[in-house]
């Protein structure tokens, strides 16, 4: 397709965490984004979660900044309450018809104040709370919703007209019609997420009949501080605090009877998290988890599992529960199950069903409209080597729509899909995005402050409690206030115009708005004053709604007094505000990729295809890494041929320079401007770094006669032999978790179970009569990999489980290997003679990580893998900007996952490389050089390594601390440590905060000038 036909825009379908990540990456890389969401607001499933594993982070806390960033991005158009109707065209140039359902509220006029819902007489159950709580017929899905606009539920509304009367912004439009939009885009990303399995289908568990049997997503709402019981765990039948709670795993997963043979990948971890959090809520809660295999396969998940058992005392019962029955009087529940061959019964007060993940209900419809293939289980079909591509060119996929997966993998794929979507239209990057132009900034230097105060009624949200007119009159009496007024809605479009007029009319050089919270509205007002020629930082807000009128509703006098105080505090700070400039940093649009395995090769090639110069450094003589050593993939795809093809493409690409047999010796600089010296002497200037140094297979240190008997080998060594047809025998024994899940290496290596299935199936393929035994602790073939476990079982591979503490014993007798293992099920010893003993040995980090980490100022885990910026939502980033992470360097993972991360790192990197300059934070630390004596006490307090002791250029004797604004995030943690008062935080200077403190404490002396 000719460049002229390509469209520099992308449509993202589904506004959960996946869609938001794709949208933000693309919009930050020079593409216009249309984010289509079927609900009235974005956020998806993650918005419903209470906490997230394995860090127990509050889901809304970590997600809210992404929600707000997506909602505000001027190159992201949100099309919510909408669905895809028609898709025409081809990769690079699609025309998509979108049907947007009626909100019955003018979304432009609605300010989200919520007065309508307060008065709406109709209550109905709230889907967001899984129907555990009520909402009104006019509603937002959840309090933090983006966009924050109300919608009328047409099925429930009785048309009484109260909301229209109540709405001072006149936003209610009962007769609003459905809209049909036609949008032109170059690529499409599908991230519609998943649906939960309907637990009613498993009638033996009593869901829907017994009140105290709840689904896991309902339990998530029960745990949440914003849920029906405000975070107290109460059982639905009588509101009592349950003592014993049973969690039943695999409800609708690994179960051919209900049609879902795959494993849902996330339930083991989320149930463990729910049990831990429930226990944290109330010390007497005793959770038990009934499971088949504990699949804690992710980064540091096994440590979480250990803590759940040892620190929280959560009981784990290895059994599939047969049935649940209810005591009609107490509503308690009895579980029937078999443990270690013995039938048992136990009573619980509450049961939580860990429901599996299903393809979304509209999957088939989407597949029909968009013409891409679904797999046998109804998820979007992908391949190992194209993990984020659907079968139709130009349409990409991420998140749980392609397979059940957790949030970090979803976020990585979301970035990966964004990279692929961007590559398709890289030649038209930047053609459809807009950059906002502002008038030239007026200088306020040397001027006496002239402050304008705008006090908001917020309809009746503030004015119904606070005497706003009194606050306005009071504001007029404050020093330097030259204008004060009351507004019905300060955030409405007409008020923005009014603010601009008043700035001109009264020559205002500071603006204070007293209304709602700066967290949501400060950027709006800052934008307004910029449009009037004022620096954005000459703005201050007083939160007299969320933190005053709404929390002191029955104390109008006190609330009015508090509003005055808050305004006085804001004015006091405002008088001392200074214009701040967001410094610009130049960007060198070249990338350094360290590590030439499949991950590094994929990253390098994708960046090169987008037109960036790439330097690919590999310490070995050839590219390829671990992947060719796999020889087989369980899906039948050929890893060796794939790497050869990649290698060919890399040599043919002019944008890539390959450096083999060398390593990085020194890396200096910061985002946009790194300088690297290789051990071989070459110097490279680049703007970003991608760390893809991979990992290695653990070589057992004498365990199970490894190194003593030549027929004892690791999985990779065995596959090598198998591929050369050198493994000739009749009996094979595999031992799992060698060097994983042990004292010094507590975590799971993720890939060995599936790797074992691949080898076992290959043996059976070559010789169906071969005897194959797998000795294991938990089989962790998550997702669709469960199929290979099943296939191995059906082909006669024998699986024997041993207890963690009772490892198998291996002896050599008359040249033959003998294995003794105590079968956990029967408690009896089993003797096996074998020709080959294969050790599924764990994945270990590369030692290079320890050398690279200090050069780039990035952390590593105690095991030696790189530690990302945030385990959940920033899996490929570091706190140090411009440095990214992918593949096994992050932790053990499969080829498809490594490729997804490699592409994800590309997307993260292009958010920097696609810009000529980066804007640094305006609120950063600043050093007053005269006062600094270079003691360096502040240096270790900085988490971002933005402070450094340097020699004073003017005085060779003197030392100084320098702030690197490219790295500073503006937290201000360093400021308090400075013994000489040389450090300060722009926008939050000591003097500014003192002014607020002093103003706050002058309750009864309002007219007195604030002392500086």
């Amino acid at each position: 397709m000719a460049t002229s036909d390509k469209v520099g825009a992308v449509m993202v379908v589904g506004g959960g965490i996946s869609g938001m990540q794709s949208a933000l990456d693309l919009a930050d890389s020079g593409y216009k984004v249309y984010l289509v969401e079927k609900q009235p607001s974005i956020g998806g499933t993650m918005a419903q979660l209470d906490k997230t594993f394995p860090t127990n982070d509050c889901a809304m806390c970590i997600m809210a900044p992404k929600l707000v960033a997506t909602g505000r991005h001027h190159n992201i158009d949100l099309i919510t309450n909408a669905e895809i109707a028609i898709v025409d065209g081809q990769a690079g140039n699609f025309t998509v018809t979108v049907k947007q359902h009626a909100f019955r509220v003018d979304t432009k006029k609605c300010t989200g104040c919520g007065s309508c819902a307060q008065k709406c007489p109709i209550e109905t159950t709230n889907e967001y709370d899984e129907n555990t709580k009520m909402r009104k017929a006019i509603y937002v899905r959840y309090p933090q919703a983006v966009p924050l606009v109300y919608a009328i539920d047409a099925d429930k509304c009785i048309g009484c007209g109260i909301c229209a009367e109540e709405c001072k912004a006149k936003a209610v439009e009962y007769d609003q019609k459905e809209k049909v939009l036609e949008v032109k885009v170059g690529s499409i990303i599908l991230s519609p997420g998943f649906d939960e399995f309907n637990p009613r289908l498993k009638t033996e568990y009593g869901y829907g009949v017994c009140k105290n049997v709840v689904s896991s997503i309902e339990f998530e709402r029960l745990l949440s501080a914003t849920g029906p019981y405000m975070g107290t765990v109460l059982r639905p039948s009588d509101g009592d605090i349950p003592e014993k709670i049973a969690f039943i795993q695999c409800v609708g997963s690994r179960d051919e009877h209900c049609g879902n043979e795959y494993c849902s990948s996330v339930c083991c971890m989320y149930s463990m998290k729910q049990a831990v959090i429930a226990k944290e809520h109330g010390g007497n809660i005793k959770p038990s988890i009934f499971f088949m295999d504990m699949r804690a396969f992710g980064k540091e998940f096994d440590e979480y599992y250990n803590r759940a058992q040892n620190e929280y005392g959560i009981k784990f019962v290895r059994s599939r529960v047969a049935a649940v029955s209810e005591d009609p009087k107490t509503k308690n529940l009895t579980l029937k199950y078999v443990e270690k061959g013995e039938p048992k019964e136990e009573e619980f007060q509450m049961v939580v069903l860990a429901v599996g993940l299903r393809p979304p209900a509209d999957a088939e419809n989407l597949s029909r409209i968009m013409k891409f293939r679904l797999n046998d289980d109804g998820f979007a079909q992908t391949t190992t080597f194209t993990p984020v591509e659907t079968s139709r060119p130009g349409i990409f996929v991420s998140g749980a729509f392609s397979a059940p997966k957790d949030i970090p993998m979803t976020v990585a794929e979301a970035s990966g899909a964004a990279a692929k979507a961007g590559t398709e239209i890289a030649t038209v990057r930047g053609t459809l995005v807009t950059k906002k132009e502002y008038p030239k900034e007026m200088s306020v230097e040397g001027q006496e402050p002239r402050i304008g105060v705008f006090v908001c009624d917020c309809g009746i949200n503030i004015a119904g409690v606070v005497k706003v007119s009194e606050v306005v009159e009071y504001a007029k009496t404050l020093p330097n206030v030259v204008y004060a007024a009351e507004n019905l809605y300060t955030c409405s479009q007409d008020t923005q115009e009014k603010i601009k007029e008043k700035i001109k009319e009264f020559k205002l050089n500071r603006v204070v708005v007293a209304s709602c919270t700066p967290r949501t509205h400060e950027p709006l007002f800052q934008n307004t004053i910029r449009e009037a020629g004022l620096n954005a930082y000459l703005f201050e807000m007083a939160n007299i709604r969320d933190q005053c009128s709404w929390i002191h509703m029955h104390e109008p006098k006190a609330a009015t007094k508090k509003s005055k105080d808050l305004v006085r505090m804001a004015v006091a700070k405002s008088r001392l505000l200074e214009p701040l400039q967001n410094l610009e940093i130049n960007v060198n649009p070249q990338a350094l990729v360290i590590g030439g395995g499949v991950t590094g090769m994929t990253s390098a090639l994708e960046l090169a295809k987008q037109g960036f110069k790439v330097h690919l450094v590999e310490k070995e003589k050839v590219l390829g890494g671990n992947t060719p050593k796999l020889h087989y993939l369980p899906t039948g795809e050929d890893p060796v041929a794939f790497v050869k093809e990649l290698d060919k493409e890399i040599s043919a690409n002019k944008n890539i320079t390959v450096y083999t047999g060398t390593t990085a010796k020194a890396i200096d600089g910061y985002v946009g401007n790194f300088k690297t010296t290789l051990a071989s002497g070459e110097q490279i200037d680049h703007g970003v770094v991608i760390l893809a140094i991979g990992a290695q297979e653990y070589k057992p240190e004498g365990e199970y006669l490894y190194g003593k008997n030549k027929n004892v080998m690791t999985l990779l060594e065995f596959k090598e032999k198998l591929s050369k047809n050198e493994a000739k025998g009749n009996e094979y024994v595999f031992i799992q978790c060698v060097g994983s899940r042990e004292d010094k290496h507590p975590n799971c290596s993720r890939v060995c179970c599936t790797g074992t299935m691949t080898a076992a199936l290959e043996i059976k393929k070559k010789d169906p009569n071969a005897k194959v035994f797998v000795l294991y602790r938990d089989i962790r073939t998550y997702g669709f990999r469960e199929k290979f476990y099943k296939e191995a079982s059906s082909k006669g591979v024998t699986f024997i489980r041993f207890e963690d503490k009772e490892k198998p014993k291996v002896e050599e007798k008359n040249g033959k290997l003998e294995v003794t293992v105590k079968d956990e099920d029967t408690g009896k010893d089993i003797f096996l003679k074998t020709d080959y003993l294969v050790l599924a040995s764990g994945t270990r980090p590369q030692h290079d990580a320890e050398a690279l980490a200090p050069m780039l100022k990035v952390p590593i885990t105690k095991e030696g893998f790189f530690l990302e910026a945030h385990m959940k939502l920033r899996p490929l980033d570091f706190a140090t900007e411009g440095v990214y992470l992918a593949g096994l360097a992050h932790g053990p993972k499969f080829v498809d996952e490594s490729i997804a991360q490699a592409l994800g790192a590309v997307s993260r990197a292009t958010t920097v490389l696609s810009k000529k300059t980066l804007e640094a934070e305006g609120i950063v630390a600043e050093i007053e050089e005269k006062l600094c004596d270079g003691c360096g006490i502040c240096v270790p307090t900085c988490e971002y390594k933005a402070l450094e002791v340097v020699k004073d250029k003017k005085d060779a004797e003197k030392k100084l601390v320098e702030v690197n604004v490219g790295l500073c995030k503006g937290c201000g943690a360093c400021v308090g440590t400075c013994p000489s008062g040389a450090l300060t935080q722009k926008g939050y200077k000591d003097s500014q905060i003192y002014a607020m403190i002093d103003a706050a404490l002058e309750y009864d002396k309002p007219k007195q000038e604030v002392k500086q």
Partner: protein, 154 residues
């Protein structure tokens, strides 16, 4: 801790109305300020005697801010930050925790009851915890009565 009603009874008995307590709250932008907002969105009611100053991170709360507040007559100072491990700036809250522990010892030497200074973790999802913290802290301060600074002034 006795009930909220008790100090009021004493005040009535002596015939002098105790002045409203003056409480200063420092909230970090990412967790506790968001938690305070959520309390508002959820319409959770609480005593109106506190005034909040928003900082980017609780670690920005310079010990001198707290001392200044007490010096200017604050009856109580509450510092609220993200839960351990939740800090938006990685580990700022750990510094806050150490600083507040030291400050509590310091203010005691100046004759302030260490309970007049409190550190609390409030996440963006914990509107209810913010409410509970404000109610409890207000009660504590009411029980302790006006700050020694204020009494000295009068």
């Amino acid at each position: 801790m006795s009930s909220e009603a008790q100090p009021q009874t004493t005040a009535h008995a002596t015939g002098v109305k105790e002045p409203d307590p003056k409480i200063l709250v420092f909230c970090c932008n990412w967790c506790s300020y968001a938690g305070a907002d959520l309390a508002g969105v959820s319409r959770l009611q609480m005593p109106p005697y506190f005034r909040t100053i928003r900082v980017m991170c609780s670690a920005r709360v310079d010990p001198e801010f707290v001392l200044r507040a007490f010096q200017r007559g604050a009856d109580g100072v509450l510092v609220a930050g993200c839960h351990p491990a939740d800090c938006h700036y990685i580990g700022g809250n750990y510094r806050t925790r150490r600083r507040i522990a030291l400050l509590k010892m310091l203010i005691q030497q100046f004759g302030f009851d260490p309970d007049r200074l409190r550190l609390e973790w409030v996440s963006a999802g914990e509107g209810e915890k913010f409410q509970k913290t404000i109610i409890e802290f207000t009660n504590t301060i009411k029980e302790l009565g006006p700050s020694p600074m204020a009494r000295g002034d009068e």
